[in-house]
C-alpha cells in the first residue's frame, strides 16, 4: 500500500450546544472541530497540542470513530472510514486503537486486568480462543512493563501509573498500526510520566507504530512527536515538523503557548516579559469586520482595498465628511470626525459589529516649536493624532470585547521614537499615540483584543510630499502591517527606513538621528 496510513480531509465535528437551546426546536450547532486536514505516514508520530476547549480531544475521538464526524473524510489504510458502520469498523479497529485520558474510568472496575487487556483481542478476533487471548494479554502486560503477574488484579488495586500501563497494554494487545493517545500522562507525577513516555517511545520504535499524541503540555508532546499540530478553537493554527514548530514558531499563538511554558531554568525576565506579543494575535483578517479611519486618501484608502483583498467580511470606511462609495459592496461609508465626541459615539453605536479598529486618521503641520504657533497647530495635532485616537480606542474597545475580541491598530510613526527638527509637535503627538498604545495593550491583554502600534517611516502620500526620499509605497506599508498583525508583532515597523531606525535605536542612537536628520 502506498500513501499515508491516515488521511484526513476537511474534518468537521458539530455538536448541539444545549446551553443555548431555544424553547422549541433544536439547539444550535457549534463547530468543535473545524476543517482539519492531516496526513500521517506509517511509523510517524503526530503531536496535537492546544489548551482546553481547542477541540483536540474531540478530534482524537473522531479519528477512532468514537464520534461521528459531521463532514469531511477520514481514510485509514486506504479505506474510507468516515461513515463506516460498526460492522465495517470492527476489522479496522484491530489496527486502530486508543489509549484514554482517565485511567480510572477507562478500566471497568469489575474486570481483572487480564480480562480488560484480553477483551479487544477476543472481540476483534485476533485470537478466538480464550486461553490464547489471555496469553496474549500477558505478553502485552509484560511489554507494557507491568508484568503478567498483574493479570489477576483489579484496577482499583493499582496506582495511577500502573493503570495507565494497563491502558497501554490493552491498546497494543491487538498489535495495531496506529494508536491515538489522549492526554495519557496529564494526571501523573513527573517520574511516572517520564517512564510512560519512555515506554511509548520504545513501543513506537519496536513495533513500528504510528502515534497520534494529544496533550496540552508542549514539553510532553516534544518527547514523542515528529510532527506537531497546534489547535485553537477547533482549527489548526500551525503545523509542521516538531523541531521547526518548537524552535521557530511562525504563528503568534504558538509563540504565546511556548513562551507560557515555564521551563525549569532560572529566568528573572520570564514572568515580566510581555506575553508573546502581549495578547497581540490576529489569526486572520478573513471574516473580520474592520473600521478604518481617514480613508479619503493615502494609507487609509489602501487599507480598505487590502483588507477587502484579504477577505474582510465588512469594512467601515470612515471619512471626516462622510459619503464616498466603493465598487465592493462590503464597504460601508461612515461619517466620522475623530475630534468629535458625538461622531465617535454615533459610530460606536452604528458600527456595533466591529472586530478590528484601524486608527489611521491623523494630521501634520510642520512647525517650529518655539516659533509662533500657527493657528494652534500644536494643539490641533495633539487633539487629532493623540486624543482622537485615544477616544476611538475608548469607544471601540468594549465593542470589540463584546464581539468576542479582535484587534486595534494605531498608526503612530517612527517619529514617535526619533525626534526630528521642525516637527517637534508632530513627534510629540506620535510619541503620545505610541505610549498610549502600549498602555491600552496591557489593559486589553486579557480580553482577547490585540493592540498593535504601527511605526512607519516616511510614506509616499500627498501628506508627505514635502518629505525627501526614500519614501515607501503605501501599498507596501499596509501589506507589511497586515502581515505583522498576523505574525503577532506588537510594534510593527513597516518599510526599510522604519526597520533601520528601530534596529538602530538600540545600537547607535546618535548615528540614527543624524541619518534621519539628513532626510529632512
Amino acid at each position: 500500500m502506498t500513501g499515508p496510513l491516515l488521511q484526513v480531509r476537511d474534518l468537521t465535528l458539530s455538536l448541539p450546544d444545549r446551553s443555548r437551546a431555544p424553547l422549541f426546536g433544536r439547539p444550535p450547532l457549534v463547530d468543535i472541530v473545524n476543517g482539519i486536514s492531516l496526513d500521517l505516514a506509517v511509523g510517524q508520530s503526530l503531536g496535537i497540542v492546544g489548551e482546553s476547549g481547542s477541540g483536540k480531544t474531540s478530534l482524537g475521538r473522531c479519528l477512532v470513530r468514537l464520534y461521528p464526524p459531521t463532514s469531511g473524510t477520514i481514510r485509514f489504510g486506504g479505506t474510507d472510514i468516515t461513515d463506516a458502520s460498526e460492522a465495517v469498523m470492527r476489522p479496522i479497529r484491530k489496527d486502530l486503537q486508543m489509549i484514554f485520558q482517565d485511567p480510572q474510568s477507562s478500566l471497568n472496575p469489575r474486570r481483572t486486568v487480564g480480562q480488560i487487556v484480553a477483551q479487544p483481542v477476543l472481540a476483534l478476533s485476533v485470537e478466538t480462543d480464550r486461553r490464547a487471548a489471555l496469553k496474549r494479554a500477558d505478553a502485552a502486560l509484560d511489554r507494557a512493563g507491568l508484568g503478567h503477574a498483574f493479570a489477576a488484579r483489579y484496577p482499583h488495586e493499582l496506582s495511577g501509573g500502573q493503570r495507565q500501563r494497563v491502558g497501554i497494554a490493552r491498546a497494543i494487545a491487538t498489535e495495531p498500526r496506529l494508536i491515538v493517545a489522549d492526554e495519557i500522562v496529564s494526571g501523573l507525577d513527573v517520574s511516572t510520566q517520564a517512564q510512560i513516555l519512555a515506554l511509548l517511545n520504545d513501543l513506537k520504535q519496536d513495533m513500528g507504530l504510528s502515534l497520534i499524541f494529544i496533550s496540552h503540555d508542549l514539553s510532553v508532546v516534544r518527547v514523542l512527536a515528529d510532527q506537531v499540530m497546534v489547535m485553537l478553537g477547533g482549527r489548526v493554527v500551525e503545523e509542521g515538523a516538531a523541531s521547526a514548530v518548537f524552535d521557530h514558531p511562525r504563528h503568534a499563538y504558538t509563540r504565546e503557548l511556548i513562551d507560557a511554558v515555564p521551563l525549569p531554568v532560572i529566568d528573572p525576565e520570564w514572568l515580566n516579559a510581555e506575553q508573546a506579543g502581549g495578547g497581540t494575535k490576529m489569526a486572520e483578517i478573513k471574516g473580520q469586520t474592520v473600521l478604518v479611519t481617514g480613508t479619503s486618501r493615502g494609507i487609509g484608502k489602501v487599507f480598505v482595498d487590502q483588507l477587502l483583498a484579504a477577505g474582510a467580511a465588512k469594512v467601515y470606511a470612515a471619512t471626516r465628511s462622510g459619503g464616498g462609495s466603493h465598487a465592493d459592496n462590503r464597504v460601508v461609508p461612515v461619517k466620522l470626525d475623530i475630534t468629535s465626541a458625538t461622531d465617535i459615539a454615533a459610530a460606536a453605536r452604528d458600527c456595533a459589529d466591529v472586530t478590528v479598529l484601524v486608527n489611521n486618521a491623523g494630521i501634520n503641520h510642520n512647525s517650529k516649536l518655539l516659533a509662533t504657533d500657527q493657528a494652534g497647530a500644536a494643539a490641533a495635532e495633539m487633539e487629532t493624532n493623540y486624543l482622537g485616537t485615544l477616544n476611538m480606542c475608548r469607544a471601540f474597545a468594549p465593542v470589540i470585547t463584546d464581539n468576542g475580541g479582535g484587534a486595534i491598530v494605531n498608526m503612530a510613526s517612527i517619529l514617535a521614537r526619533v525626534n526630528l527638527p521642525l516637527m517637534g509637535s508632530l513627534c510629540a503627538s506620535k510619541a503620545a499615540v505610541y505610549s498610549m498604545t502600549q498602555g491600552i495593550r496591557a489593559e486589553l491583554a486579557s480580553q482577547g483584543v490585540a493592540v498593535f502600534a504601527v511605526l512607519p517611516g516616511a510614506v509616499d502620500t500627498d501628506m508627505t510630499k514635502d518629505f525627501p526620499p526614500p519614501k515607501a509605497a503605501p501599498a507596501d506599508i499596509v501589506a507589511e502591517v497586515l502581515a505583522g498583525m498576523q505574525a503577532g508583532e506588537a510594534d510593527i515597523y513597516p518599510g526599510d527606513m522604519a526597520k533601520g531606525v528601530s534596529g538602530g535605536l538600540a545600537a547607535d542612537r546618535p548615528g540614527v538621528i543624524a541619518e534621519m536628520a539628513g532626510y529632512v
Binding site: 446551553s19 437551546a21 431555544p22 424553547l23
Partner: protein, 334 residues
C-alpha cells in the same frame, strides 16, 4: 441552564397531564361493567340508557369518547358519585382542604425534624450523638407511614390514652367553619379550645406521615452537608478563621439544601400518597379516606375525580419544587 429551561420544564408537565388523563380514562373504561349504568339511578330503563349513551357520545369510537370525556373532565364535570349521590367535584373539593392541611402540617414537621437532626449530627460529628442519630434514622427510614400510624395509635391511643385516635375534630364541640381549613381558620379567629382539639387530632396522623420524610431529609441533607464541608470553599472559610457554626450556616447549608430540596419535593408526593392510608387508619375525613371508600364501593365517577385530583397535586408540587430549586440555585436564576 436558564429561564427557557424552566419554561421547558413547565411545558413538560402538559404531556404528563395528558398521559395521566389517558391512564385514568383507560382505567375507568376497562372496568368490567357499563359506564352508563353508573351514571343512572337504579331502576332506569334500557331506553334511558340508550339516550344517555348517545348523549354522552358513548356510541362513538374510543377516541371520540376520550375527547368527550376529557372535555367534561376539564370543565369539572365528573358526574355524580354512585355511593354518595352528590356531584363528584363538590365532594372532592369539600374534602380536599382537610388533606392539604394534614399534608402541609406533616411536611413542616418533617422539615423541622430533619433539619434539627442534621444540625445536631453535624455539630457532634464523629461523636456518640451522631451515631445515635444515624442509628435512629436508619430505623426510621425503613419503617413505612402505615406502621407508624398503627404504632402511634397503639401507644398514645391505647397504652397511654392521651390522644384521640380518629376523626379531625370532636363533634361535641359543635363549631361551625366557613372554610375547609379548620386549623388555619381556628387560629385566625382565635378559637383556641377548638385549635387545641384540632391539633390533638392532627398530631398523630401527621407524625406518622412526617417520620419517613424526616428520615429521608436527614439522610440527604446530612450527606450533602458532609459533601459540601470538604469543598475548597469551605476549607477557605476555615482558613478565613470562621467558627464551625458560621461555616455550616453561611457556606455549606445553602449549597447542601439544593439536593435536599429536590428530594423533599419528590418525597412530598409520597407523603401526599401516604395520606390515603393514614387517613383511613385515623378515620380522618380527607380525600384519601374517601378514595379508599370509593374503591371499596366501586364508585367509579368518584374514583376518577379523586385520582385526577391527586395527579394534579403531584404535578403541581413537582413544578413548585423545580421553581424553588431555581430560586435557591444562582446558576438558574441569572
Amino acid at each position: 441552564m436558564n429561564r427557557s429551561m424552566l419554561l421547558r420544564r413547565l411545558l413538560q408537565a402538559i404531556p404528563t397531564l395528558f398521559g395521566v388523563s389517558v391512564v385514568v380514562f383507560v382505567l375507568v373504561r376497562v372496568v368490567p361493567g357499563n359506564p352508563i349504568a353508573m351514571m343512572l339511578p337504579p331502576g332506569a330503563t334500557a331506553a334511558d340508557m340508550e339516550r344517555l349513551r348517545v348523549a354522552y357520545g358513548l356510541d362513538g369510537s374510543i377516541v371520540e369518547q376520550y375527547v368527550i370525556w376529557l372535555g367534561q373532565a376539564l370543565t369539572g364535570a365528573f358526574g355524580t358519585s354512585i355511593s354518595l349521590r352528590q356531584d363528584v367535584l363538590e365532594l372532592v373539593l369539600g374534602r380536599l382542604p382537610a388533606t392539604l392541611e394534614l399534608a402541609l402540617f406533616a411536611t413542616v414537621l418533617a422539615v423541622t425534624i430533619g433539619v434539627l437532626a442534621t444540625m445536631l449530627g453535624s455539630l457532634y460529628r464523629g461523636r456518640w450523638p451522631e451515631t445515635l442519630i444515624d442509628t435512629i434514622n436508619g430505623f426510621t427510614l425503613a419503617v413505612p407511614d402505615f406502621i407508624w400510624a398503627l404504632a402511634l395509635i397503639l401507644l398514645f391511643g391505647v397504652v397511654l390514652p392521651i390522644l384521640p385516635i380518629s376523626g379531625r375534630i370532636n363533634p361535641r364541640l359543635g363549631t361551625e367553619f366557613l372554610t375547609g381549613f379548620y386549623l388555619l381558620e381556628a387560629l385566625l379567629t382565635g378559637r383556641f379550645t377548638v385549635l387545641g382539639d384540632l391539633l390533638r387530632h392532627i398530631i398523630m396522623p401527621s407524625i406518622a406521615l412526617a417520620l419517613p420524610l424526616a428520615a429521608i431529609i436527614t439522610r440527604v441533607l446530612k450527606n450533602s452537608l458532609a459533601e459540601a464541608m470538604v469543598q475548597d470553599y469551605v476549607m477557605i472559610a476555615r482558613v478565613k478563621g470562621f467558627s464551625r457554626w458560621r461555616i455550616i450556616w453561611q457556606e455549606a447549608l445553602r449549597n447542601a439544601a439544593i439536593p435536599a430540596l429536590t428530594l423533599t419535593g419528590v418525597q412530598f408526593t409520597f407523603l401526599v400518597g401516604g395520606t390515603v392510608l393514614v387517613e383511613k387508619i385515623f378515620s380522618y375525613p380527607g380525600i384519601g379516606n374517601m378514595a379508599i371508600d370509593a374503591v371499596t364501593n366501586r364508585d367509579l365517577p368518584l374514583i376518577q375525580g379523586l385520582i385526577l385530583c391527586f395527579a394534579v397535586i403531584f404535578i403541581t408540587v413537582n413544578l413548585l419544587v423545580d421553581l424553588s430549586y431555581a430560586l435557591l440555585n444562582p446558576r438558574l436564576r441569572s
